[in-house]
Subunit: 273 residues, 2 copies
C-alpha cells in the first residue's frame, strides 16, 4: 500500500482502541492534490467542520490541519490525499467519552489512472441491487460507516468506465457509489436531495454554485430512477475526478450535452485537462 | 486505555490504510472472559464465521484465533475480550481487493462494574430519538459501522442502570443500544425479528435455545413499542452482562418475573452470580 500516514502529526500507526476502528466514529475527506496544493481545500475543510459539529467531535485546529495536509502533498504531479478525523480513544462502549481528544490521520496515495473517454464520451451507469438505509442523522456526512458502499461497489465489474447507481430503501435515487449524480433537462440541473442518506459531495456543491454563474438553474430534489431516464443528459461528480458525463443507463443512451461541457470547462475538467 | 492489542498475532498497532478504519469494513465480537476462558466462545466464533461469509471476508483460521484469544484472557478474574476482523488493506476505493488478507485484532479491557440491582430489580428502558436505517444486507451482522449506536448512546444519561430502546425508520422495535430485548407474556418470549436491522446477539440466541429447554415458547417477530407496554415483563440480553430485567419503560412499571429468574438461573446470571 503506497501510503505513508501522519497520525496526530507524526508518521505512525493507529491505536486499535481508537473509536474510528471500533465504530467508524469519525469523518474523512478524499482530496485531489495537484502541483503541491489541494484543489477545493476550503470546501473540504468546511465540510469536515460541519461534520464535526453534527457528530459533536471537537474540530481539529485548522492551522495544524492545513500544515499537515501540505506536508503530505507531493510538490509536483498529482496524488490523492486523504484526511481522517476520529473521536479518538475512549472507554469501552458506544458512549462517547466526556473528554474527547480527536485523532487526525493524513495519508497520500497514487493518482488513479482513469480512461480519458470517461470525460468525453462518458461512463456507463449501472443500478446496484443493494439499497441504502435511511437515517437523517447521518445524511450528508462523509462518515466512516461505508459498508453499504463497499457492498455496492462489489456488485460492479472491475474497471473504471462505470458508476453504480444507489437507491435508498424507499426507492429514491441517492447518488452513486463514489459520486453524486445530476440530471440535465433544458437548462435545469437536478440532483437528489441529501435528506435521508447520501453524502453532500464537495463537487456537488461546486457544481450547484457554478451552475448559477453559468445562468443555469440547479436544485436538490426527491428523485425516482424514472427521472434519470426522462432527462436530456446525466453526469456524475466527485472532488477527485471532477465531472463525467453518463453515456448509458440500461438501454437508455445519452447524447453529449453542451451544458456538461460548459461545466467541465468552467471547472477545468475534461479529456485535455 | 487499558488495552494491549494483538494485531495479526503480535502486540501492535493498525495500519491506517486498513479497510476497518477507512470503511468500517469488518466485524467484531465482545466477549466475557472468566477464570481464563471465554464464555460462549463457540457461539461467538460461529457468528463471526457467518458474518465473514456474508461479507465475503475470508474466515481467519480458527485454531489461530482460539490460541490468540486464550493469550489475551487473564488467567483469573473477569475481563472483556474484544476480537475484530477486518477486510485488511487494499487499494484506495470502496471496491474490495481481489486478494483479501484479513486483519485480526484481539484486545482485553477491564470488566465493567455494574450495579447488582441491574440483575435483581432491573433497569430503566429509555426510548432513543434516533431511528436505525433499514438494510437487510447488513441486518444481524456485528459489523464495524456503529455510528447509529454511538449517537443513540449519547442521548442517554451517563450511568449504567438503563438501556436505550431503538426503533427503525419504520417504527419497528429493533433492540437496545448494546443489547437485544425480549417481551414475556404468559409462558411466551418474543424478541424483535432481525430482518431489516439490528444485531443477532449471542445471548439472544442462547436465550431462545434455553427457553426451549425450560418449556417456554420463544420466537422472533415484527414488534411495535406497544407490544412492550402490553407484555407482562421485559428483559435485555448481551453476552457480557447476560440478562437484566426491565423495571420501567416510561410510565409503565414491570413486576419481577419468575420466568426471567429461571432464565438467569439456568445461565448463571443474577445478583449472586
Amino acid at each position: 500500500v503506497d501510503t505513508d500516514w501522519l497520525v496526530d502529526g507524526k508518521p505512525g500507526f493507529l491505536d486499535p482502541s481508537d473509536r474510528g476502528l471500533a465504530y467508524g466514529d469519525g469523518l474523512f475527506e478524499t482530496m485531489a492534490a495537484e502541483s503541491g496544493a489541494i484543489r477545493w481545500l476550503d470546501y473540504h475543510l468546511e465540510r469536515l467542520r460541519s461534520g464535526c459539529r453534527r457528530l459533536k467531535i471537537p474540530e481539529p485546529d485548522e492551522t495544524i490541519l492545513r500544515r499537515e495536509i501540505a506536508e503530505r502533498c507531493p510538490p509536483a504531479g498529482r496524488a490523492v490525499v486523504k484526511l481522517i478525523v476520529t473521536r479518538g480513544k475512549g472507554a469501552r462502549g458506544y458512549r462517547p467519552p466526556a473528554e474527547v481528544s480527536p485523532t487526525r490521520l493524513i495519508g497520500a496515495a497514487a493518482w488513479p489512472v482513469r480512461p480519458e473517454a470517461n470525460y468525453s464520451t462518458g461512463i456507463e451507469l449501472i443500478r446496484c441491487e443493494i439499497r441504502l438505509g435511511r437515517n437523517p442523522a447521518l445524511a450528508g456526512l462523509k462518515h466512516l460507516n461505508r459498508l453499504e458502499q463497499v457492498l455496492a461497489r462489489a456488485e460492479l465489474p472491475d474497471e473504471h468506465a462505470h458508476e453504480g447507481l444507489l437507491l435508498d430503501s424507499d426507492g429514491q435515487v441517492v447518488g452513486c457509489t463514489s459520486s453524486n449524480i445530476f440530471a440535465v433537462t433544458g437548462r435545469e440541473l437536478v440532483t437528489p436531495e441529501i435528506r435521508y442518506c447520501g453524502v453532500e459531495g464537495v463537487m456537488r456543491r461546486i457544481v450547484i454554485e457554478t451552475a448559477g454563474q453559468l445562468g443555469l438553474e440547479a436544485s436538490g430534489r426527491a428523485m425516482r430512477p424514472e427521472a434519470l431516464l426522462a432527462a436530456d443528459a446525466l453526469f456524475v461528480t466527485n472532488a477527485v475526478f471532477g465531472i463525467w458525463p453518463v453515456r448509458s443507463f440500461g438501454d437508455r443512451m445519452y447524447a453529449t450535452s453542451p451544458i456538461i461541457r460548459a461545466l467541465q470547462s468552467a471547472l477545468g475538467y475534461g479529456a485535455d485537462a
